[in-house]
Structure formats: structure tokens, C-alpha cells
Symmetry: C2
Subunit: 216 residues, 2 copies
Amino acid sequence: MTIEQIEAKQRIFDAALRLFAMKGYSAVGVREIAREADVNISMISYYYGGKVGILRVIIEQFFDSYKQILKEIKGQNTSVEDSIYSIVASMVQFLKENPELCMVAFSELPYDEPEIADLKASKVPDMYQNVSWLITSHNIPMTDTRLISMIGPTLVGMVFNNFRLRKVIQKAFNVETDDEYDEMFIKVISTLFLSGIKGISERLINPEEDKNNENG
Amino acid sequence: MTIEQIEAKQRIFDAALRLFAMKGYSAVGVREIAREADVNISMISYYYGGKVGILRVIIEQFFDSYKQILKEIKGQNTSVEDSIYSIVASMVQFLKENPELCMVAFSELPYDEPEIADLKASKVPDMYQNVSWLITSHNIPMTDTRLISMIGPTLVGMVFNNFRLRKVIQKAFNVETDDEYDEMFIKVISTLFLSGIKGISERLINPEEDKNNENG
DNA sequence: ATAAAAATCAAACAAACGTTTGTCAAGTTT
DNA sequence: AAACTTGACAAACGTTTGTTTGATTTTTAT
């Protein structure tokens, strides 16, 4: 492959990713992708086997990147506070660096798309199990699987949702979502989540025995 | 209109809502809707002016119902704890009673859909401003608009996200999401959020002066 | 009973869909 | 030099898209 040829394949991916994020996978046509990527329509099937092939690569790439990030966080064995802060910070950084990748993967996740059902089935469980590890690996006494199934996705949901609805939020609150906003967002969400799970531990799991910890 | 005619229009709406929720708006064709609703294809344009007309009704209905719920909660002026609990409980109940309506509205919200841009622009701000009221109306000293813009959508995001990804969550954690699950979910999320914003108030806004409140 | 209105239908519309074909030039391998 | 591979292209493939038409039935109003 020459440099220009690599660029052709990459241009298709970039254009598709941007359009999928903007309008949703099904609302984007191959001709629109080809036009934006400045390639012939047939090149999409040539390089990706079809439109759905691009979506597959997007989702694979998302999950692999995401898994990599969580693996790095697992390496640093620190306090709960630091763990949550760095997991939120990493997620925000990941979202800032790959906003469209995240949006597409996250938006298409709940839909019945038979052609990517296998991908979802194999990759999604990892995603949440890794977040749940955060809770179980520290001395937070949460053994109920249902409880973890509520809290794990919650953290992911809080962060992703803010990015997913940024345009809407900007309009509704008339705020700028700049770097300063993101730094504040990391602090706010990690504090909210940390205080939140402590509150759950104290009030819902051990309403009595942890009172000494609260004042200690 | 006879009863059967009302049913025809309603059947179109029901079928479309179900299909939109399952596959996404753009992935559903009018013939599929007509087949499921057991009506002629032309009846869709006849009653709704076109496919996008159904989506408009869905989104309008969602926001109006949602606004109504929040209005009812505003009426009961109780403690922060009760307010948050009832707001979460109402959201969960609303989601349980109108899962598809919520899913469609929520999923299509971030997309560039020129034909419903006007609807979004007029209805969305209400949605979040109403959640923010919860924070400002009680004695939680949050004046920073950016902070409210982070926390307001967070609560909505936490609850909606759990429902949006229920199928995925069920598979990943092998849990049943029955009524008991939902009751627990309400307690968990409201506790998480309540403890969370208290934590933010104590640690991020007033790191010193609120220490006496914490032990009182 | 008759006229008007509303609801339903089969059929067709142009446009867009994703994919495939056959051709051709450029580069690589033998 | 000949055979082969790769990337790119215009063009066409058969479907499917959302919408509209005009005729027909059903319901409502006079």
C-alpha cells in the first residue's frame, strides 16, 4: 500500500465515523460517506466488505481502546478515591480524544442490529465487569450482584451521557464546555460517585455497624 | 371517528413506537410499520403526514408527560431527601409505564434530525431546568451554572441509562430486572445522588464551613 | 334517500438504498 | 517481458425508501 492508498481507507473510516456520530448509523448512506471521503462508492465494499463493516470496526476499536484504559488503571493500586478519580479522568480523556467513536458505539449499543449482535455479545460484558472491579477490589462491602449491576453502569452512564448530550446541555444551560469545564466535571462526577457509594454503603447495606467509620 | 378508525391511527402509533425503540427511527421503514399495525401504507401519511410525523408526536408526548410529572413533584414541598426519592421514583415509574416512548425520545435526542430540530429546541431546556430546580429550591448552595449543568443531566442520565441498557445489563450481570429490582434501584440511585450532592457541597463548594452540619 | 366527508385500498411514483460488475491503469512479481 | 495483483473508477444491478394518486368503500350529515 502506498501512502495515498492508506489514506483512502482511512478517509472512509473517518468520514463514516463522523457521519454516524452526527446522524446515526442507519440514517447515513454509503454515497454520503463516499462523497465526504472523496472516494468511489465501491471502495467502501472493497475495503470494509460493506457499510456494516465500518460499524464493526468502530465498535471493535471502541471496546479495545476502552479495555486498554481500564487495564492501565487496574495496574495502579491506590485508594478508592484515587481509583474513582482516575477512572473518571480516563473516561473523560478518552471521550475527549475519541468523541465520535464513543458516541457511535454507545448509541448503537441498545439497538437490534443482527449483523453486530456477535460483537456486542462478546465485548459488552467485559466493559461493565471492569467497572465493577473498582467496587469489589476495594473494601466496599457490596456483594449483591444486583447492586453492582446498578452502580457499575451508572458511572459509565453519567460520564457518557454528559458528552452524548453536550449540544443539548450547552443550549439549555448556556454554558461553554471547554477544558476547564471538563476538569471540573471530573472532580464533580468522581466526588458525586464516591460520596454516593459511601452513602449507599452506610445507609442501605450497613445502616448500623458503619456509624463509627462515619465519624472516625 | 368510529372506534375502529381511532384504533387504526393508534395502531400505527403503537407499532411505530415499538419498532423505533427496537431498531432506531431511521432503521424502520413505513411498510414495516404498516404491516405491524395492519393498515395500508398510505394511512401513515394520511394520519401523521409522513413517517417523521409519528416521531414528532412521540417526542411531544414524551416531553409533555415528563413535564407533567415534574409539576406534580414540585407541588409536594418536602425535604431534599423526599424530593430526590420521589423524583427518582417518578422517573422509574414513568420509564416502566412508557419504556418505548422514553427510549425513542432519549435515543433520538442527540441526533441531527432537521425535521424535529424545532421540537428539541423548544422542549429540551424545560426538561433539565426542571431537574435543576430540585437542587436550587432546597438549601443546597449551588449557584454555579456549570455545576448545575453537570449534576442536573446526571440524575436523568443515571436513571434513563439503566433502562436504555437493560438488555445489555441483564446479559452482562445475569440479573433479573423485575419489580423488586426497580424498587431497589430507586433507593440506590436516590441515595447515591443525595449522598453525592452532599459530598460535592462539602468537599468542592464549602470545604470548611459545612463541617458542623456534617456531624450535627 | 341523497349528498358530503372520511377512511381505506391497490398501484405507481421518483429517489435513494447497498452492492456488484467489468474495465483500466499502476505497481509488483516471476 | 509476461503474468499477476492491487486500487480506483463509471455504470448498472435489483431492492427498498417515503410519498402520492385515484378509485372505492364506509361513515356522517342533510
